[in-house]
Symmetry: none
Subunit: 425 residues, 2 copies
């Protein structure tokens, strides 16, 4: 059995949502790498009773390790160390060596300010040198030291600022106390598969079939989620169950082969970037209005293959900037295969590119008709050799969903066209 | 005493940090507006035992209301309703009316796919129509209904996708069951002030002064945070402390007047949209590569004033598409006041617009020099009457921070120029 852990995030600003917690996910990732199973993250404000309740809860759930973040500062609302000491039944004692370390740090910080009473500051910070008896001190990166308190569970107390917590993590994990707590851990494999064009319920159906037909299926811990229009399946398993995962994947490929675009954790963005190496792409966007260009240039080095793009929001811009015949727009409407193709051709031409992608659609909330309701979007990818692939979709959701989803669809159409697979899209 | 609540966020993808939780903070805000005190947020994976442990913990802590998010989908790892029913000691029963509602929704969704077995999908989704006996159903916005289960505590079960949860919240809160759970609450005022160009520490200094000079200052619960380059200050107070808040705001205006751009909760996006009414804007983007155009068109109705834009990522595109003289780029570099101004002039001209905004900068990680390090960005806003306002900044952070922050700076430069305030920027 694997070691289990819980994370206690303290801080009223986090609880009330004014500041997004970045420590929980970061520590979760580190624990996973160590093969420690994270069972719970709990968040509470700067109140001793609530912090202590969460510590008791996690201990009662039998976790081997609790990591706390936040509440180590010099002010009165910073009470994590004191609360953890009480919870662990240990006295707080002044660590004079630590006090000297903190004084040294403060002295050099103070040097930047004038008129500061160093003794007053030091008095306020003395509480940061009070540690639970028998705990191991983790040297501060800012001014707040961490502590690792032995016991069952072991409690690792770290500061709230992510930069400090992350820098102090390696020493905290290296301590003997933590090593003992997480001994006997199992290291898991984790594999990610991404699919596009698949309903989440169709994958659910496949997983139900796998449950019936794949032996030892329960050795796999599978989670699925819908992200940016893609279905993502993450599977965790112990190394000896690799064959079970292989059987599951054989079934997934058999049923959804053409929709599986990534089995190695890569994103469609990674794949499109690789396919664009040595090429030169231009965009022509109406409803996505720059989101496809922004996404293509999101990664470092994209200037090697992105020439640029035109946001042709108004019809006159489609004509003036992309050379789309106004008569074509009159005849078919701005949201049509003809206009999407003319936009892509215009982008190729104006930028001297060899690859172009175009989007034109109705993002809403207004502008829909019976024929072309809100969510109707035409996409076209055109290459310099004349290859032209067009698709239309009716996307669900609100304006922001439709624009976001359209951007993802454009990326997938690019991927399939550049791989020469678009015929099967 | 005010009603207390806890939030249970379920989902292995959230626990393990693959997806950031957006529901906890959102629900926390709504509870505070309702005068309900949030005590704990707990996060666990898709495991019935862990979900149930968190429900028991919150009940033992005496909360009046538990809100759960996530785990309402059709797949086997969606188990929140079942777990809540067991926790509340209620049978799951098929709600046939709800089943018909879900079937109707699915039928219209399926229309987009071909070769889907509707009966199989419906079977997979039948579990979504199973509700705890005596619970009130909250109609689905996606395909997953919510439920409100009476008892002590009351448990409100909502779906994970933020768009669905947010749309379903008003009906859930309006239910009699919830009303009884949160009776006797204190209603708070909440005011938001947004500042641009201010260091968070300068605001902290002002708040320390307010603590000394404003009577009954402790009646205000203030949180500050830095978001998208803007400092946001949110203050909650009981209605009888409105005068204390007014004193605080007098001090904030006195010290940071020109940086305060919003006291009514409006975003810079709202203000720019209002200022653009009756105008026609075009963008010319290099480092932001479409993000300014995407942000301007984010809101419904923006087609009334957005003509379009040009993403001139490559230098040749700046010349070919925006008419920037190649000699100007050679002389001053692509990241320069001269090129930013020529780009804005080009956008005005090519789109026949009366307002243009241009960005050109070094987003990194490569491309920086001693003179123009990574983060150097030039901005220009130009109006048809010849008004030309240019600014340069050195923005901190990584590629994505620099692009995001540049987009915000462009919005603020637009706002100030259109208000005729740019001289004081």
């Amino acid at each position: 059995m694997s070691a289990r852990a819980g994370i206690v995030v303290t801080g009223t600003e986090v609880l009330t949502g004014r500041v997004a917690d970045r420590n929980g996910p970061w520590v979760a990732d580190r624990l996973l790498e160590l093969g420690v199973e994270l069972a719970h993250i709990t968040i509470c404000g700067d109140r001793a009773a609530d912090i202590e309740a969460q510590l008791r809860f996690l201990a009662a759930e039998g976790v081997d390790l609790i990591v706390t973040t936040g509440g180590l500062g010099p002010t009165a609302d910073d009470m994590t160390v004191e609360t953890v000491a009480r919870f662990c039944g240990r006295e707080l004692v002044l660590d004079t060596e630590l006090e000297a370390t903190i004084a040294g740090i403060l002295r050099s910080l103070m040097a930047r300010y004038t008129g500061v009473d160093f003794d007053a500051v030091m008095a306020a910070n003395r509480k940061q040198a009070m540690v639970p008896a028998g705990a191991q001190v983790i040297d501060p990166v800012g001014t707040a030291p961490g502590v690792v308190v032995p016991g069952s569970p072991v409690v690792m107390v770290l500061p709230g600022p992510p930069r400090e917590l992350q820098a102090m993590w390696p020493s905290a994990v290296a301590s003997d106390i933590v090593a003992q707590a997480i001994a006997g851990r199992t290291v898991y494999h984790q594999d990610t598969v991404r699919m596009f064009g698949l309903a989440e319920s169709a994958l659910a159906e496949t997983l139900r079939e796998a449950q019936r037909t794949v032996g030892d299926f329960s050795a796999l811990e599978i989670t699925t989620c819908l992200r940016r229009g893609e279905v993502e399946m993450v599977t965790r398993y112990e190394p000896h169950s690799a064959a079970v995962y292989a059987q599951l994947m054989a079934l997934v490929r058999e049923r959804h082969g053409s929709m599986v675009f990534s089995e190695d954790g890569s994103l469609v963005d990674d794949q499109v970037a690789a396919l664009l190496a040595g090429r030169r792409i231009a965009t022509a966007e109406s409803c996505t209005a720059g989101m496809v260009a922004a996404r293509l240039t999101d990664r470092p080095g994209s200037s090697a293959y992105v020439a640029g793009g035109i946001v042709a929001y108004a019809n006159e811009a489609k004509t003036a900037l992309l050379g789309v015949d106004a008569a074509l727009i009159d005849a078919h409407g701005a949201v049509s295969q003809e206009v999407a193709e003319a936009m892509a051709a215009g982008a190729l031409d104006r930028f001297g590119a060899d690859t172009a992608v175009a989007t034109t659609g109705i993002a809403g909330p207004g502008g829909g008709t019976a024929d072309k309701p809100v969510g109707t979007v035409w996409f076209c990818v055109r290459l310099a050799d004349g290859t032209t692939v067009s698709r239309s979709l009716r996307l669900p959701g609100d304006r922001s969903d439709i624009r976001e989803r359209s951007t993802t669809v454009a990326m997938h159409l690019l991927r399939r066209t550049l791989r020469g697979e678009a015929g099967s899209a």
